[in-house]
C-alpha cells in the first residue's frame, strides 16, 4: 500500500496547475490592462462632456453667434450683452471676453488643459437658414491611444 504522493505525481500536478494558471493569467492581465485604459478614456470623455455642456449652456442664451473664418473659433454676445469668443490654440479651448481670437495670452482662461488631454480639432458651423450653431470637438489622450469626437448643436434663443 502506498502512502502519500510520488515525485512524478507531484510534478504532473504542478505541471497541470501551471498550464491552467498560464491560461487564466492572460485574460486576467487583459482585464487589468483594459481597466487602466478605460480610466484614461473615461476621464477624457467626462472632461469633454463638461466642456460641451458649459459651452452649450452659454450659447443657448446668446445672440449674434458668428463662426470665425475657417470655423476654429466662435464669437457671440452672452445674455448680458458681453462679448465672448471661444478659440482653439495650442491644443486647448480658450474662452476670451473679446470679439476675436487674435490676442490669446498665457493667462487667458482655458476651458481645457493640454496637460490632461489634447484637443486636436475644434470646429464651429452655423446653419444660416435655421440659426443652428454646431460645434465639434476631437480630443486625443496624451499617450495617443484614445481619440474622442463629440458634437453638439444648439439653437441660440436670442438670435
Amino acid at each position: 500500500m502506498k502512502k502519500g504522493f510520488s515525485l512524478v505525481e507531484l510534478m504532473v500536478v504542478v505541471g497541470i496547475l501551471s498550464i491552467i494558471m498560464l491560461v487564466i493569467s492572460q485574460p486576467v492581465a487583459g482585464i487589468i490592462k483594459y481597466q487602466r485604459e478605460s480610466q484614461t478614456a473615461d476621464n477624457m470623455r467626462d472632461n469633454l462632456q463638461f466642456v460641451i455642456n458649459k459651452m452649450e449652456k452659454e450659447l443657448k442664451t446668446s445672440s449674434g453667434v458668428t463662426a470665425i473664418s475657417g470655423g476654429a473659433g466662435l464669437t457671440f454676445k452672452d445674455q448680458n450683452g458681453g462679448k465672448v469668443a471661444y478659440c482653439f490654440s495650442d491644443n486647448e479651448i480658450i474662452r476670451l471676453e473679446t470679439d476675436n481670437c487674435t490676442n490669446i495670452l498665457p493667462s487667458s482662461p482655458r476651458l481645457t488643459e493640454n496637460t490632461i488631454f489634447r484637443v486636436v480639432n475644434l470646429r464651429f458651423w452655423e446653419n444660416n437658414r435655421t440659426n443652428l450653431t454646431t460645434m465639434s470637438i476631437s480630443a486625443q489622450s496624451l499617450d495617443n491611444k484614445d481619440t474622442v469626437t463629440m458634437q453638439m448643436s444648439v439653437l441660440p434663443l436670442n438670435d
Binding site: 478614456a41 435655421t130 458634437q151 448643436s153
Partner: protein, 170 residues
C-alpha cells in the same frame, strides 16, 4: 494483491468540469468587459447625438413654423425636413435588428462633424432618425430622436432615445 488508491473516474471528471467552468467564466468576463468598454466609449457621443437630433428639429420648427409628421434622417446642415422615403429606418428591440440601416447611417465626415453618411452598406457605428407626430388638439408636434449604436464586431444593439414637445414661444 497490491492495492493502489487513486482518483475515481467520477472524481476526475468532476475536477475537470470545475476547472473548465472556471476557465470559461474568466474568458466570458473578459469578453464582457471588452464589450462594455466599447459601448462606454460611444455612450456620451450617442447621448449628444440624440439631443442634437431634437435641437435640429427645434431649429427647423422655429425657422419654418411647421414640421410635418414622419420619420426623417437629418443632420446639422438640414434646413428643411427631407421627403419621406418608403424604406424608413427602424429598430426592433425584440429581435435586436435595425431595418434599413443605410437610411439612417451617420458618420464623422472629412470636416470632423457627425453627418449623414451616403454609404450604401449599413455597417456604421451610429444611426440616427427622428420621428415627428403631431397631436390634433392642440396641435403640438412631439419629436422623438433615436440613436442606435451598433458594435461592428457583433452583439446587441444599444438604443438611445429622447422625446420633446415643440411649443411656440410668443
Amino acid at each position: 494483491m497490491k492495492t493502489q488508491k487513486g482518483a475515481t473516474l467520477v472524481g476526475s471528471l468532476l475536477a475537470i468540469t470545475i476547472l473548465a467552468t472556471t476557465l470559461v467564466s474568466v474568458l466570458e468576463l473578459q469578453t464582457s468587459i471588452i464589450r462594455s468598454k466599447f459601448f462606454l466609449q460611444y455612450d456620451n457621443t450617442a447621448n449628444l447625438l440624440v439631443a442634437e437630433g431634437l435641437e435640429i428639429v427645434r431649429a427647423i420648427y422655429a425657422n419654418n413654423g411647421t414640421v410635418a409628421n414622419g420619420t426623417y434622417h437629418i443632420d446639422y446642415t438640414t434646413s428643411s425636413l427631407p421627403t419621406l422615403t418608403s424604406n424608413r429606418c427602424s429598430v426592433n428591440i425584440t429581435t435586436n435588428t435595425l431595418n434599413n440601416a443605410n437610411q439612417c447611417d451617420i458618420d464623422i465626415n472629412s470636416t470632423g462633424a457627425y453627418a449623414l453618411s451616403t454609404a450604401t452598406e449599413g455597417n456604421r457605428i451610429f444611426h440616427r432618425f427622428v420621428n415627428i407626430e403631431t397631436s390634433s388638439t392642440p396641435t403640438i408636434p412631439k419629436v422623438t430622436s433615436t440613436v442606435v449604436v451598433r458594435n461592428p464586431k457583433g452583439g446587441n444593439l444599444r438604443v438611445y432615445k429622447a422625446t420633446i414637445e415643440l411649443y411656440k414661444i410668443n
